[in-house]
C-alpha cells in the first residue's frame, strides 16, 4: 500500500530478543523495559500514522545514566536504537523497525535549574515544550520556540528536529535558543556540550547536534535560553481577494522595517473549512493574513497603524485589528483550529517545505495547478513571514490508491519548493517521509559528507538508521561496506 520502504529487519537480532531484553532488564528498573508485543504496539508509530512497526522492545529511562546503560547494551549487541520523545513527529522520525529498541525520553521530566539572572533554564528533555514556558511564566519569562504540538512534544524531540513554530520570524528556532546539552552517544558515553556561557571552546557542536534527527545521540538534558515576556501582543486580520496580493503584503511589511512576531497565511480552502468548523467570523475571500505585533499598548498601536497603511495600499477586503484579549482570541481562533477543521474534511498529509517569501505567490499558483493534475484538493495554511508552507493534501485513506496519490502530489510540491530556491522541510524534519527526496535538494557529495559526519559519531549506524538519507545512498554505511 504505502510507498515508503524500510529495510528488511535483521532476523538475527529479532531471534536474539530474549537475550537483549534480559540484558536491558539486568541494568534497568523492572518497569523501564517493555517487551510484551501488546505493550510495544503503543510505540509502533509517531504522528505519521500511515507507517507502523512495533519495535523489539521499548526502554523508558528516568536518568541519563539509565539511557547510557541501555545504549551501551544495544551498542555491544549491535541492536539499532530509535530515539523517541513524545512521538509527535509528522515525518516518521520516531518510526521503529522490527529489529530496534526504542529509547524514549518521556520519563525524564525534571526541571533542574531556572536562572533568570543569566537567562537560562536547564531541564531533562522529556519535559514538554509548553511546560517549560509554564514553569517560567510566574517569573515573567518564556521559552520561544512554540511548535503547534507544544502541548505534547518534548524538548528532546524539539532538539532532534530543530523545531520552529509561529514566532520564529522574531525569535528564531530551537537551534537559536539552545545553549547546552547532556547527550548519550551511540557507544553509551555521556558528554556535556555547552552551557550557560555565550559560546564554545572549540567547534560549534551544538549547531550540528540540533536538528540531527537522533542520528548522533540522545539528548537527555538541555540548557535553554529564556526570554522576558513581552508586555503584550495583539493580532490583526487582513483579508485579500487574491493570493498574490496577500503575498505582496507580506513582503511589503517585512521591507518596511517592522518585525512582527508572526505572519500567518490561510487560503480559501482552509478558510471555508475553518468557518464550517469554528465559526471564527473570517471573511470569505482568497487569503487571510494574521499578523501579530508585540510591545506596550502604544507600541502595538503604532505598529498596527503602520501595517494598516501598508495593507490599505493593497485594497484588502477586510482589515480588523484586535482591541482587547477577546478580540485577539477571536482572530487566532480560526488559525488555531485550522488543522482540526481540515481533519473534519477527511484524511490529510501535512507538508512543510519552505520557499523564499518572494516566491510565495508563484508557488501557491503552481500548487493549485498540481492539485488539479493530481485530482486532490489542497489547503494552504502556513507561516508566511519565513516562507514555511504547510500545504495540507486531502485524501481518503479508505480509498485504495488515494494515499499513494497524495504522496505523489506531496513529492511534486516539495520538488517545487526546492526548484524555487527553498527546501524540503522547514520544521518537521526529513524522517522517512522526505528521505528519498533528499537528492532533489542535495548532490551526492553534499549527502556523503553528512553521512560521514554521522559515521564519525555513530560508526556502526545504530542510531535511527534508515532515516534522513535515501535508502540506496545509506545502504553501504548501514551495512558497513562504505569506504
Amino acid at each position: 500500500m504505502s510507498t515508503i520502504q524500510m529495510p528488511v529487519p535483521d532476523a538475527g537480532i529479532i531471534a536474539q530478543k530474549p537475550q537483549i531484553v534480559a540484558a536491558l532488564q539486568a541494568v534497568l528498573p523492572a518497569d523501564a523495559v517493555i517487551s510484551d508485543p501488546a505493550e510495544t504496539r503503543a510505540y509502533e508509530c509517531d504522528a505519521l500514522t500511515a507507517y507502523r512497526c512495533p519495535p523489539l522492545a521499548v526502554v523508558l529511562p528516568r536518568t541519563t545514566e539509565e539511557v547510557a546503560a541501555a545504549m551501551r547494551i544495544c551498542h555491544d549487541m549491535g541492536v539499532p536504537v530509535v530515539p523517541r520523545g513524545a512521538g509527535t513527529s509528522l515525518a516518521g522520525g520516531a518510526l521503529p523497525t522490527a529489529d530496534s529498541v526504542v529509547i524514549a525520553t518521556l520519563r525524564l521530566r525534571e526541571v533542574l535549574e531556572i536562572d533568570t539572572s543569566n537567562r537560562f533554564v536547564r531541564v531533562q528533555t522529556g519535559v514538554t515544550n509548553l511546560s517549560v514556558s509554564g514553569e517560567l511564566a510566574p517569573l515573567g519569562f518564556f521559552y520561544a520556540p512554540d511548535p503547534s504540538s507544544q502541548l505534547a512534544c518534548t524538548i528532546a524531540g524539539n532538539i532532534a528536529m530543530n523545531s520552529g513554530g509561529a514566532h520564529c520570524l522574531k525569535y528564531g528556532v530551537t537551534t537559536n535558543n539552545l545553549l547546552g546539552v547532556r547527550m548519550v552517544l551511540a557507544s553509551g558515553e555521556i558528554v556535556e556540550i555547552g552551557g550557560p556561557l555565550p559560546g564554545a571552546a572549540g567547534l560549534d557542536l551544538l549547531g550540528l547536534i540540533c536538528g540531527s534527527e537522533g542520528q548522533l545521540g540522545i539528548v537527555t538534558e538541555a540548557t535553554l535560553r529564556i526570554l522576558p515576556r513581552p508586555e503584550g501582543a495583539r493580532p490583526m486580520l487582513i483579508g485579500f481577494d487574491s493570493a498574490e496580493v496577500a503575498g505582496e503584503c507580506v513582503a511589503r511589511i517585512i521591507r518596511s522595517g517592522l518585525l512582527p512576531v508572526a505572519i500567518e497565511y490561510m487560503d480559501d480552502v482552509c478558510l471555508r473549512a475553518v468557518e464550517g468548523f469554528a465559526r471564527a467570523g473570517y471573511p470569505d475571500c482568497a487569503a487571510v493574513l494574521i499578523v501579530e505585533v508585540e510591545g506596550s499598548e502604544a507600541e502595538i498601536a503604532e505598529q498596527t497603524e503602520r501595517i494598516r497603511a501598508i495593507a490599505a495600499a493593497l485594497h484588502p477586503v477586510e482589515f480588523r485589528s484586535s482591541r482587547n484579549d477577546d478580540e485577539s482570541l477571536a482572530i487566532w481562533k480560526g488559525r488555531k483550529s485550522a488543522f482540526g477543521a481540515m481533519g473534519r474534511l477527511g484524511d490529510y498529509l501535512c507538508l512543510d517545505g519552505t520557499v523564499p517569501v518572494s516566491k510565495l505567490p508563484f508557488t501557491l499558483r503552481r500548487i493549485g495547478e498540481l492539485s488539479r493534475e493530481h485530482g486532490l484538493e489542497v489547503a494552504n495554511v502556513f507561516h508566511a513571514g519565513d516562507g514555511n508552507m504547510h500545504p495540507l493534501i486531502l485524501f481518503d485513506a479508505n480509498k485504495p490508491g488515494d494515499l499513494e496519490r497524495a504522496e505523489a502530489f506531496g513529492r511534486d510540491i516539495l520538488r517545487l519548493c526546492v526548484e524555487v530556491g527553498g527546501c524540503l522541510t522547514g520544521e518537521h524534519g526529513v524522517g522517512i517521509e522526505k528521505r528519498d527526496l533528499m537528492s532533489a535538494q542535495y548532490g551526492p557529495d553534499d549527502m556523503a559528507i553528512q553521512m560521514e559526519v554521522k559515521s564519525a559519531l555513530d560508526p556502526r549506524w545504530l542510531l535511527n538508521p534508515a532515516k534522513v538519507f535515501p535508502l540506496d545512498a545509506s545502504q553501504p554505511w548501514r551495512e558497513g561496506t562504505a569506504r
Binding site: S117, R119, E189, L197, L203, C210, S358
Partner: protein, 367 residues
C-alpha cells in the same frame, strides 16, 4: 599568496594539497588572527554579492566579499547584519579588508549578540570546499530549514580548520529607526552585572550591555516613540541610579568603539573570556589581581582582559569560563581554550571527516 578566482580553482588547489598532505594556511582578509605561519591561500578573490532580497531579509555573498561593501549595501535598504560583527584590526594591528567569509569562519559577533544572537544564528546556508577538495552545499537561503544535518553552523567558528568557505547566506534585519544609550558612571563590575541582569530581564529589548572603567552602558533601540518609552521604563526600574542619556550619534560612536574593543587597541596580551554573566564580577576581580584591566560586554558574558599573567594563571582566574588568548604579546599565534576530553574526541573525529589529511590551518584550534 594564492587567491583563486573561482570555487572550482580553489577546490582543485585544496585537492592537490590533500593528495600531498601539504598544510594549507588560509585566511579571508587576514584581519582576525595572527596565524602561526603566513597564509598561503586567501578567499578574497571570491568576491561579490550573489543575491540580496530586502523583502526576504536574505543576503548571499561570496566568501571574499568585503564586510564594508555588504554593510553599505544593506544600509542603503535600511537593513544590517543584526549581530554587528566586530572589526579586529584595531586590537590586532592588522590592515587587510575584513571579509564576510572571515566573519562566518570566526563566528564574529558584536554587542548586539546579547539580544539578536551570534553570527551563526543568522547563517542560512553555506558553500564550502572540504579538506579533500570537494565542493559542498549545506542549508540554503530560507529562514526555516531542517533538511539534513546542519553543517553550516559547525563550519561557522571553525576558523578554517574544517573547510574553506566559498559562499554564505545570511539573514538580514531592519536597522533600528532610533537608538540611544543610558550611561551609568561610578559602578564596579558587580553593580554593573546586577544592573545588566535587571535590564535584560525586562521586555525592553536592551541591545547592548557593556562595562568599562567604572561606567556601565545600556543601549536602547527601536521605533522613535519606543525608544523614549523604553528609556522611561528602564530609568524607573533602575531608580537607584541616575543615568546620563547619550543621543543617537554619541550612542553609535560609543558602541562602535565597544564593539571593536578600541579601549584595548595596541600591544600587550589581550584575552577574550566567556563566562556565565553572574560569574563575571568574581572573574574580573581575579584578573585584576594579576595586574591588568578588564572590560565587560554581553551583559557580563564576555570579558576582555588586557594585562600580565601566564596562560595557566589567566585560565585559573577564568574559573569555569573559557579563555582565549586572542592577542599574545610578541608574534606568537593565538591560544584557544581547551575542549573537555569527551568533546575534544568528537571534534577530532569531525576534523578527520572534513579534513582527513589534516591540512587546513592544522592545529590552530588546539588548546
Amino acid at each position: 599568496m594564492m587567491a583563486p578566482a573561482s570555487e572550482a580553482e580553489l577546490a582543485a588547489l585544496v585537492a592537490d594539497h590533500h593528495g600531498r598532505a601539504a598544510p594549507l594556511w588560509l585566511a579571508g582578509g587576514g584581519t582576525r588572527l595572527r596565524l602561526p605561519q603566513a597564509a598561503a591561500l586567501s578567499t578574497r578573490a571570491l568576491s561579490g554579492v550573489v543575491t540580496y532580497e530586502p523583502g526576504e531579509l536574505t543576503l548571499i555573498a561570496r566568501a571574499g566579499t568585503p564586510v564594508a561593501e555588504i554593510e553599505a549595501l544593506l544600509a542603503s535598504q535600511g537593513q544590517a547584519l543584526a549581530f554587528e560583527p566586530m572589526d579586529h584590526r584595531a586590537i590586532l594591528g592588522t590592515t587587510g579588508a575584513p571579509t564576510v567569509g572571515g566573519v562566518v569562519a570566526a563566528n564574529v559577533s558584536g554587542p548586539r549578540r546579547v539580544l539578536a544572537g551570534a553570527c551563526r544564528d543568522h547563517l542560512l546556508g553555506v558553500r564550502f570546499v572540504d579538506g579533500r577538495g570537494r565542493v559542498i552545499r549545506n542549508g540554503g537561503r530560507v529562514m526555516k530549514n531542517v533538511t539534513g544535518m546542519d553543517l553550516g553552523r559547525l563550519v561557522a567558528g571553525s576558523f578554517g580548520t574544517l573547510a574553506v568557505l566559498t559562499e554564505v547566506a545570511l539573514k538580514t534585519l531592519p536597522l533600528p529607526e532610533a537608538q540611544e544609550t543610558l550611561a551609568f558612571p561610578g559602578l564596579d563590575a558587580a553593580q554593573a552585572v546586577a544592573l545588566f541582569s535587571a535590564a535584560l530581564a525586562t521586555p525592553f529589548e536592551v541591545s547592548g550591555a557593556a562595562f568599562h572603567a567604572g561606567t556601565a552602558w545600556l543601549r536602547i533601540e527601536g521605533l522613535a516613540a519606543q525608544v523614549a518609552y523604553r528609556r522611561a521604563r528602564l530609568t524607573a526600574l533602575l531608580r537607584d541610579h541616575t543615568p546620563e542619556v547619550l543621543d543617537a550619534a554619541a550612542s553609535r560612536a560609543l558602541w562602535q568603539g565597544l564593539r571593536d574593543v578600541a579601549h584595548f587597541a595596541g600591544e600587550g596580551a589581550l584575552w577574550r573570556i566567556l563566562v556565565k554573566p553572574t560569574d563575571a564580577p568574581a572573574t574580573a576581580a581575579a584578573l585584576a589581581r594579576l595586574g591588568g584591566n578588564a572590560s565587560l560586554d554581553w551583559g557580563g558574558g564576555l570579558i576582555w582582559y588586557r594585562g600580565p599573567g601566564e596562560p595557566a594563571q589567566v585560565r585559573q582566574a577564568a574559573g569555569a569560563g573559557l579563555a582565549m588568548l586572542l592577542r599574545p604579546s610578541g608574534d606568537a599565534p593565538p591560544l584557544f581554550p581547551a575542549e573537555p576530553p569527551g568533546v575534544a574526541a568528537i571534534s577530532a573525529a569531525l576534523r578527520r571527516t572534513f579534513d582527513p589529511a589534516g591540512i587546513l590551518n592544522p592545529g590552530l584550534m588546539e588548546g
